[in-house]
Amino acid sequence: MPYLKKSPWIIHYDASSCNGCDIEVLACLTPMYDVERFGIVNTGNPKHADIFVITGSINEQNVEVVKNIYHQMPEPKVVVAVGICATSGGVFQECYNIKGGVDKVIPVDVYVPGCAARPESIIDGIVKALGILEKRKEEHMKKAVEAKQ
């Protein structure tokens, strides 16, 4: 049964965002947008999360942090890069400390463009991620069955 779709829990990590995108992610939780309508909960714990929402570009110092959070999340999981910084590095691309977008260190499933990304497009991105999450689950189950054999 597709329960994953009905209760996606997210973990939000601020890589090196200017805080613009963070505020927009938080705006999704306010009464105006209220993502809890769709069962989306901001957990703040990688071990409980299904969707890794990441804002801002990757810098040299947080590479390990991002990898660590990603590996702590139980399968099936998806990654959503929010904002143009997270997708490619954006205006900070050329900075000495910036590595680039999130996909430089972990696989990204959905890119949400915008500077800052609007709450509507963030929600849209997460809904897109849900479809991928379902597919991941099937792959994961297949793998689990194969591992048993």
């Binding site: 049964m1 329960y3 994953l4 009905k6 209760s7 829990w9 009464p31 209220d34 809890e36 309508r37 769709f38 069962g39 909960v41 901001n42 957990t43 703040g44 714990n45 071990k47 409980h48 299904d50 702590q72 139980p74 399968e75 099936p76 689950k137 994961h140």
Partner: protein
């Protein structure tokens, strides 16, 4: 015979009822905050999803501890509903929480460690009041049964209204039940809302089906605690149900209106409540009715 029937009924129906209560709770909470809120069945979706997820295990033993937590929680409730000894119910409830705490300790993570410490403090804060409540109930049964009784079945079949004899204890119990329902201001060890100070406290290191089990155990516990509240009104079932609903609404209201307190405040206030409301009630009962 009837008692065994109630116990089995509890074991089967409590998770459904508890989950439904949690769903309605989330809906009402959302409305209080001016949001639309999730569907009523959301808690069930959450738990079913958790059972579909991968289970990341830090230490093997943590799964056994959580299993013990669930088993003892169900056992506690079954004991209560089969009309067993209420003192045993109280201590079995504590035992089940100790297993959860051990599970959190076993995972060796700093967040779950702090969560476990706080959970211990919560158990300590909860305990005095609930023990006083059982003593109060025992004293009232003395009015009807010569020797008195600690059995839930005897307390539930009292025709004298328990609430009139134990108003202080009732208020005190509502105060400490907030702790067990994991409601703000006393949701120190873990909570349903996104406090990110200690990540998720006791449940930090549990994931997948283990977390699902903890959630189901919490539903069992919610039903048990509400049944405790019902006991005060068992002379009139309709009144009992209304009282339970009102108490739960009050808890949601408190949850949404008070910020989280520090553990010192938790311990001091709940022991003070136990001392003043609980002991005064018992002393009055002793001097006025001579039981």
């Amino acid at each position: 015979m009837m008692n065994a029937f109630y116990a089995i009924g509890y074991m089967i129906l409590a998770p459904f009822l508890g989950g439904l209560i949690a769903g309605i709770d989330r809906k009402i909470t959302a409305r209080m905050q001016g949001r639309v809120g999730p569907p009523i069945l959301q808690p069930f979706y959450d738990v079913l999803k958790l059972f579909e997820k991968e289970k990341v295990v830090v230490t093997r033993s943590q799964n056994y501890y959580v299993l013990c937590y669930v088993v003892f929680m169900v056992f506690t409730g079954a004991l209560f509903f089969s009309g067993g000894d209420i003192l045993l119910v109280v201590f079995a409830l504590t035992l089940s929480h100790i297993f959860l705490i051990l599970g959190a300790y076993a995972s060796n993570s700093p967040y779950s460690y702090i969560g476990a410490e706080r959970e211990l403090l919560q158990v300590m804060a909860f305990e005095p009041m609930i023990v006083i409540a059982t003593i109060g109930m025992y004293m009232v049964t003395k009015l009807a049964i010569p020797k008195g009784s600690f059995y839930v079945s005897d307390i539930a079949s009292l025709t004298i209204p328990l609430i009139l004899y134990l108003p202080g204890i009732f208020l005190g119990l509502i105060y400490v039940i907030t702790i067990k329902l994991r409601k703000s201001p006393f949701d120190l060890s873990t909570s349903h809302h996104a406090h990110q100070e200690i990540v998720k406290g006791v449940t930090t290191e549990f994931s997948g089906s283990t977390l699902g089990r903890i959630e189901v155990a919490h539903w069992y516990e919610t039903v048990l605690l509400l049944a405790f509240v019902y006991l005060f009104f068992s002379f009139n079932p309709l009144m009992g149900v209304i009282a339970v609903l009102l108490v739960y609404l009050l808890e949601i209201f408190i949850d949404n209106n008070y910020p989280r307190v520090k553990w010192q405040m938790l311990l001091k206030s709940s022991w003070l409540v136990a001392l003043i409301l609980g002991m005064a009630n018992i002393a009055l009962l002793y001097y006025v009715r001579g039981v």
